[in-house]
């Protein structure tokens, strides 16, 4: 049974609404596609496809529920795929590829069409991008992961846009989105879904003043704890040294990471 519902984003269905369901999701790397996941359960499959239109690139969300195993995941695709040659818009990558083959004489891979797949906070995204987009632009401006901040340092000096890319804390403003095809990204929104002990430790240690830099710090700290669950205060300071905080909350971060480490 497949039903399609078309809604406008301004009606209140947004990406963030879907995030709330995350407890039921298969989080993970290398999720193939809805087809694969649908195949992994033997019960009735319900696919709910919701098209949202936002300024710029839109996003389509496909929820797949395999009733037999209560497995549910999402592949988030765009609502518009634009032909790089003639600018025509299509509802799916397959439609665009078919168009390309028919009209422009030749097969077009997703790479040719600047379509990338990346996992963000456990969900697979298929998005058409521009080659000059940074990962930060894709995450924050297009997909609205608002935790991915930007002090406009422009030269990778502040750490506020740090996300985990395949587990490593990297600056999303210093990565081209097109080079992130196939990577797994985690943002502070994803950390919140995990209810990671860093979050409570940050609140309880009064780490945020204006708070703009906090998500960058917390993702960098997550990267540290993933590779070293019991860091010393010095190791924490060295790991977080690339994150700037104009309110200068620095010492509190060290204590918070120590606290989080002890409750891991």
């Amino acid at each position: 049974m497949t039903k399609e519902i078309k809604k406008n984003n301004s009606d209140g269905v947004s990406r963030r609404d879907f995030l709330k369901d995350a407890g039921l999701l298969v989080s993970g790397t290398a999720i193939g596609s809805t087809v694969l996941l649908a195949a992994c359960g033997d019960g009735e499959t319900v696919t709910e496809k919701i098209t949202t239109t936002v300024t710029g690139a839109g996003a389509t969300t496909t929820k797949t529920v395999t009733a037999g195993e209560m497995v549910k995941t999402e592949t988030i695709t765009q609502s518009k795929y634009v032909c790089p040659v003639d600018g025509m818009e299509f509802d799916s990558l397959a439609d665009l590829q078919a168009h390309f083959e028919n009209e422009h004489g030749g097969e077009a891979t997703s790479a040719d069409l600047n379509v990338i797949n990346l996992t963000i906070n456990g969900k697979l995204y298929e998005v058409q991008i521009e080659p000059y987009w940074t990962l930060r632009h894709l995450l924050h401006d297009v997909l609205e992961f608002i935790s991915v901040k930007d002090m406009c340092c422009e030269q990778g000096q502040c750490g506020s846009c740090a996300v985990l890319a395949d587990g490593k804390p990297l600056l999303s403003c210093m990565l081209l989105a097109i080079e992130c095809d196939g990577r797994s990204i985690q943002t502070a929104e994803g950390l919140a879904l995990e209810n990671h002990p860093l979050i409570e430790a940050y609140v309880n240690n009064h780490c945020s003043q204006c708070g703009y830099c906090t998500p960058g710090f917390i993702m960098t700290a997550k990267g540290l704890l993933d590779r070293n669950p019991n860091p010393t205060a010095d190791e924490i300071a060295f790991a977080l040294e690339g994150n700037l905080c104009r309110c200068s909350t620095y010492p509190y971060h060290i204590q918070a990471v120590l606290d989080a480490s002890s409750s891991l």
Partner: protein, 319 residues
């Protein structure tokens, strides 16, 4: 950023061919290039970025026949944390460790670090506000401007910017060879003052590997920066001293890494002690002039004092 195309290369040869096109540039870690593109500092904006990271086998650290081989796309953080590098090629490990910040080191490569453009604030000013010599313009704005971070050994091709790399002096001190798709280049000969580049590489030439003979003695690297992290060096120094040989290199003091040959001569075969190191430090800055204070510009004479001190301390660290 302005629009550009992006091509994943599958081989060095392909990348080299692609780089031969007009408007093509190589993007390794991207931590230098993207900043330059975002701020539109250059008069010519690249039209296509060639990505070599899709070429396999450019990311490794191995010791073969007494030579350390480091793939050009090896991340600075990997070099900084590698046990072999840390114990036998200390100057390089420390230089990589002191480069920029952890995030940058996780993305930045050794190949990129040695090819980075200079950090002169006139050159880097957004929107090409100062169309300087290194962009093909007619003048060096730093010469009559604020040159507190600039060269203390005069200009090269009338430009007084400095080479900002932390790993460069370590590679010079360790007598490294830079291997490209076309040739082997001694580290001593690798850097140059180009428009806008800072190496002797041809447009279609790509660094593939760094080779370092196992040093006979200890090596060390010391960096002086305004803050303990993030910053580029005000002055840095690397040294490798074995009984008969001393290789000492200063950077961020001139447009090219500077072999402190007078200091090397002073230390060759000499005991590493405070008095000898101090004398070598003095010798290293012989001929340094710097710029005097002028109005709001404090000049850069302080860098001579710091360079002298770093040479002394780096030598002592090789004990």
């Amino acid at each position: 950023m302005k629009k550009f195309k992006h091509v994943n290369a599958s081989s060095i040869d392909e990348a080299s061919t692609l780089l031969g096109q007009d408007g093509a540039v190589l993007i390794a870690g991207g931590t230098d290039l993207l900043g330059a593109l975002k701020n539109r500092i250059l008069s010519n904006y690249p039209s296509v970025l060639i990505n070599p990271k899709t070429i396999s086998g450019l990311d490794y650290i191995k010791e073969e026949g007494g030579v350390l081989k480091v793939g050009a796309l090896t991340l600075l953080e990997e070099i900084a944390n590698n046990d072999i590098v840390k114990s036998n090629y200390t100057a390089l490990a420390e230089a990589a460790h002191r480069t920029a910040s952890p995030h940058i080191r996780e993305a930045g490569t050794i190949g990129g670090n040695i090819c980075q453009m200079n950090r002169c604030w006139y050159f880097r000013h957004p929107n090409n506000r100062f169309d300087c010599l290194r962009k093909g313009g007619g003048m060096c704005f730093a010469m009559a401007g604020d040159n507190r971070y600039h060269s203390i050994f005069g200009a090269v091709k009338a430009c007084i910017a400095v080479n900002p790399s932390d790993t460069a002096p370590a590679l010079v001190a360790l007598n490294a060879t830079i291997v490209t798709n076309k040739r082997d280049i001694a580290a001593d000969d690798f850097w140059d003052v180009g428009i806008p580049g800072s190496t002797v590489l041809d447009e279609d030439e790509i660094v593939t590997e760094i080779q370092i003979p196992e040093p006979a003695g200890k090596s060390a690297f010391i960096k002086f920066a305004i803050r303990k992290t993030i910053d580029f060096p005000v002055v840095n120094c690397a040294a490798m001293i074995s009984g008969s040989e001393a290789r000492i290199c200063l950077n961020a003091v001139y447009n090219l890494p500077v072999r402190a040959t007078a200091a090397e001569e002073a230390m060759a075969g000499a005991t590493i002690d405070e008095a000898n190191a101090e004398a070598a430090g003095e010798a290293a800055v012989t001929g340094a002039s710097g710029f005097p204070a002028n109005g709001s510009n404090p000049g850069n004479k302080y860098k001579i004092q710091i360079a002298k001190t770093l040479v002394k301390r780096t030598i002592l660290a090789c004990q």
